[in-house]
């Protein structure tokens, strides 16, 4: 052991070892990125399978149909007559229908304020008590009046009503069935789920007057299409990139695809040929959605509470009718009803690339971890480098003639680096606050204002610090070291929570590892421009241009997500990525002066 230690100590003083880290760091990023592109291959992904044997998907006959269709048509007439009416009028009518079925109903008011707008409404929900059950468990069937694209759920609402009437006739339910009819797809379900778990702010969201047991699963129906459909689209992204248990998705795939003979699509890949490009595209779309962390449908709000949920959307031209959709829901509910335990088998961390192919966390996590590790490696490297005296003064030191093998160590001047990193970290609260509290009309102007400020700020900091403190190269190394250390630490922790977000931020901030204070002004300007092109606001602007969206709309969605669903992506962007970027810019713009011979022997 002592020999190992001494050899390690000797190794660390080897000047060659300091040459390695930047290359190692680059290698980490490259391997991390390439790793991602290997995942869709057959060798790295796996076929899905049902892990929870109790689910038995597709093993039951489904009987929804026949004269239920007559009932469906009647309910649809009722729903059509309600289009364009107010939330309360709609709920009055729907409540009378649901009450007529013999279900217990209740309503809940909610009000959210975000981006200067008020998102208010009234949820209607009904509890179909399990005929022989004891109110310990429940499953939820959700239909929002409007889907995420603000289209009226004209078939979904009558289908849920018809299913409620049909489910009432069965005595086999072991869990209560809760029918949730919310006015919109994001705020309504969020308010309801929060209140169900008593995690709501009672000044904005009312408590629920009646409740059932622990929620075991939820299915949302988003059925806008008027004509017959071909397949079912499963939307599964939860808030903050959390995902439902893979068994739930597999069950739906099994029931819809296997039993009902209709296709299943994921991530808006309407035609999937199960070849490499399509798999990669599905995976990347999934990662992008996961990285944004926004709610993608009524199911999203359930997932943070460990209630597995998906939204089912029929799509395409085909010959499947509403009853087929109802049978898919019936089959899924029968499977969920079989559950003896909460869904826990299978996977919660996965990337789907086809309805029957996935990679699990063990396979994909290294790519994000490698990208995050590159920052840590660079941080350690810079720390070590900062401890070495600069060559010119080192040669002039009289003690250097000593035969002592110990390398000289420079004093580290920590005050300025720590101050800069702390300053950039604390400044990050400003954009976070502004973009979440400014009214909608002011979002776009404040964004452009911020863009300008954002470009000028590093210059200002750099001028001020140069004037006041005349930082040395060592201090720039330390600034960069600290900010990269923080970035690496945050990203590697984030990778376990939201892999895609960590990966995205990691790749976008990869240039930060390699920029350094340049002595030539041209290099400095080029470096600054490169960094500005990968700055958070620039990336936002670029992505808005790519998808043809308005920056203001994106920021409004982000603010709504922050206030309603508690999406933390904004925190990661402004409080993790942006400070690191700012520190990086300060380093690039820095004009270090060479330190004079303050060297101390170790």
């Amino acid at each position: 052991m002592p020999r190992l230690l001494s050899s390690a100590l000797a190794l660390r003083r080897d000047p060659r070892i300091l040459k390695i880290p930047p290359y190692l760091s680059l290698l980490c990023i490259l391997v991390g990125a390439v790793w991602l592109f290997l995942l869709p291959l057959n060798e790295y992904s796996r076929r899905t399978y049902i892990s929870e044997n109790a689910l038995l998907p597709g093993q039951v006959h489904t009987y929804f149909g026949g004269s239920d269709q007559n009932v469906f048509r009647a309910y649809k007439q009722e729903v059509n007559s309600l289009v364009g009416k107010s939330n309360v009028e709609i709920n009055d009518k729907l409540e009378s229908i649901v009450k007529g079925l013999g279900l217990k109903t209740a309503r809940q008011n909610f009000t959210y304020n975000a981006a200067g707008r008020t998102y208010a409404g009234e949820n209607l929900y009904a509890i179909l008590q399990a005929p022989r059950g004891d109110a310990t468990e429940a499953i939820v069937l959700v239909a929002a009046w409007e889907n995420a694209k603000h289209e009226v759920n004209k078939n979904g609402i009558p289908l849920v009503l018809t299913l409620a009437r049909y489910f009432k006739r069965w005595s086999l339910w072991s869990k209560d069935i809760i029918i949730l009819l919310s006015p919109d797809s994001i705020a309504g379900p969020q308010a309801w789920v929060d209140a169900y778990h008593d995690a709501h702010d009672s000044s904005r969201v009312a408590s629920l007057p009646i409740k059932s047991g622990a929620l075991q699963g939820a299915i949302a129906i988003d059925y806008v299409q008027e004509h017959r459909f071909k397949s079912v689209h499963i939307v599964y992204d939860g808030v903050n990139g959390q995902l439902p248990n893979l068994d739930l998705i597999n069950s739906v795939v099994n029931i819809a695809g296997g039993q009902m003979g209709m296709g299943v699509a994921l991530q808006e890949m309407w035609n999937h040929n199960d070849k490499y490009p399509d798999r990669l595209r599905t995976m990347l779309r999934g990662m992008l959605k996961q990285g944004l962390g926004l709610a993608s449908g009524p199911h999203s709000s359930f997932i943070p509470y460990h209630v597995d949920a998906v939204t089912l959307q029929p799509f395409g031209e085909g010959w499947q009718d509403e009853m087929a959709m109802g049978r898919v829901v019936e089959g899924t509910f029968r499977s969920l009803n079989n559950l003896l335990e909460h869904l826990h088998q299978s996977f919660f961390f996965y990337l789907l690339m086809h309805r029957e192919r996935f990679v699990s966390i063990g396979t994909y996590l290294p790519s994000a971890m490698l990208v995050a590790a590159n920052f840590t490696i660079m941080a350690i490297f810079l720390w070590m480098k900062s401890g070495q005296p600069e060559e010119v003064p080192a040669a002039s030191t009289p003690e250097s003639s000593d035969k002592d093998t110990a390398a000289p160590t420079a004093e580290r001047n920590l005050l300025l680096p720590l101050a800069v990193v702390t300053l950039s970290g604390s400044l990050s609260a400003i954009p976070l606050y502004i973009f979440n509290h400014v009214p909608e009309s002011a979002l776009t102007p404040s964004f452009y204002f911020f863009l300008v400020i954002n470009t000028l700020l590093p210059i200002a900091i750099s001028i001020v610090s140069t004037q006041l403190f005349t930082p040395t190269l060592q201090q720039f190394h330390l600034i960069k070291s600290f900010s990269l250390l923080l970035l690496g630490m945050f990203l590697s922790s984030l990778a376990t929570l939201n892999f895609s977000l960590a990966m995205l931020i990691g790749l976008l901030s990869a240039p930060l590892s390699f920029v350094k204070p340049y002595s030539s002004p041209v290099a400095r300007i080029v470096g600054f421009i490169i960094l500005n092109l990968t700055s958070p606001p620039a990336v936002l602007l670029a992505s808005a241009a790519v998808w043809g969206l308005n920056v203001g709309d994106i920021l409004r969605e982000a603010a709504v997500a922050w206030h309603v669903t508690g999406t933390y992506s904004a925190v990661v962007v402004w409080c993790v990525w942006w400070p690191a970027w700012l520190a990086g810019c300060v380093c690039v713009l820095g004009k270090p002066i060479h330190q004079e011979g303050k060297v101390k022997k170790a």
Partner: protein
Amino acid sequence: MRQLFSFVLLSLVSFSSLLSSASAAAADYHEQLVLRPLPLSALLASFNFRSNISLSEFEAHNFRFFPRSLGQILQHAGTQELHLRFSLGRWDSESWGARPWDGAREGGTGVELWAWLQAATDEEADHKWLTLTNALSGLFCASLNFIDGTRTTRPVMSFQPEGDHLNTTVADTHLLYGVLPHEVVCTENLTPFLKLLPCKGKAGIATLLDGHKLFDASWQSMAIDVKPICPIGGECVLQIELTIDMVLDIDRSKRPRDNPIPRPPPGHELPCDTSKPYHSHDTCFPTDHQANQDWTLSQIFGRTMKGTCPLTDPAVPPVCLQVPNSRSVYHSDGVLEKKNLDRISRCFEIKPDVNFEIVLPAPEDESAVLVKPETPLLYAERSFTGHGQERGGVQTILRNPSPDTEVEFIYMESLPWFMRIYLHTMSARVQGQPSKDESLIKEVYYRPAVDRARGTQLEVRMRVPPASTVFLTYDFEKSILRYTEYPPDANRGFDVAAAVITILSPAGYNLRTTSLLCSLPTPDFSMPYNVIIFTSTAIALAFGGMFNILVRRFVAADEGPEVGLAVLKKRIKERIGGLMEKFKKNKGRKTENGVGEPREKVNNVGVETEVAKV
């Protein structure tokens, strides 16, 4: 030979029963079925079987109608009074109103047992309780033997003996109460139950008890109550009462047994609201939720009733039906219908060998379909609040529907030990008022849990003002179990027994909340996570060591910088001094019109003493 013997025995029995029916012993056994249609096409069927035995005969092992198997257990375990409940489902008091028997003959979901045992000490009582639960477990095919110390409590306020106990024995009787909320009541519990009856399930109202129907009921409760009764001036008797209450869904029960699947009916059979403008042959707004008030006994129970039990007291009519007198009811021949004076019930006297059947046709008069259910004294609903695996809360909503009468009751919880409640968080508030109301809780009896040895017992005497809703809330912390303590279905959660509410005033009434499912922090018993955890730990250890070696500078203790408050003070002084000097110099430079670069200022005084400490 054997047949002959049994024949002789049978004739002897029937002879003796004939004799007894004439004598005073006629009241020894009676049975009655009360049928009460409830709203939303439900039907409450209450079966009651009661028999008495004098204490002297009981002690002489001379059991007649009293089941011998149970009697011997009671004697062996020194049981004075016994109450056993098997329940399933929930009573929907919003629609069905007050509970049958004022809630005195029901339990929470699962199995509940409480008994008064004669014992000199607590230890002896515990020992007898163990004997009793184990014996009953065998008798009723239920997991009653799992009622161990952690599930047993000794209620102080909630339960009062129903029977008449001699003052001399009261001093050394112990009340023990055990509950198994997770026990699933099933047909295997019904069979031993029927065996306790004098006529078994062969004759009388017990012939209607079919496992398929009983366990398809929306709510059912089987109760056994044994208690001593001492009439004034008479001899004490031991009374056993067996009660089965069930709420059947008429729609579900009427489905043929060979085709129980609720397929959609043919379109033309669907009752539709024809007043809707869009009504057509393929569009139908259903109205069927109003229907299903017509039924027959054989439809509901799957069979007719086979005569009466010859041992029963003929003075008590075996079947009663609670519907308004104006409603017409048809019955089979050989049955005498007697309408009671209260105008809402009628009873049927049945000849011993007649197959009894009643038919309720669809009512002509919509207003007089059923007797309006009585409003219960209190509505109670309990649920968990909070989320996560660390802590949670329980909220009970108690609603007093009466406009002018205050309700006073005892609320009892027996919680498992792994729910550690914070008693100081217990509070009650009236709905609509923000702050808690101290006057609602009058008395609290609390016996804290001991880990793995006993559960929490909480009894609260409280009141609910008229026409108001009270929220009773408390918080608790979830313990982490040892990993061998998890059941095979660990991720299901753990059942928490129903709270028992005993109303003291204005009238005696019992009710129970539903049970709860509490999810505890559950380790992942699967392999991948263990692998991840192990590799992460290994990497963390390796990384930590590497990082340490790479970064740390090793110096001897005397070489290192001085540390301490004095050093810090000195350093701050120096720093301030340095800044002051710099400031002065800058000023001076300005006056000198910028001569000379301040190059020498780079290494200010602070650097000298600043040593990187890692």
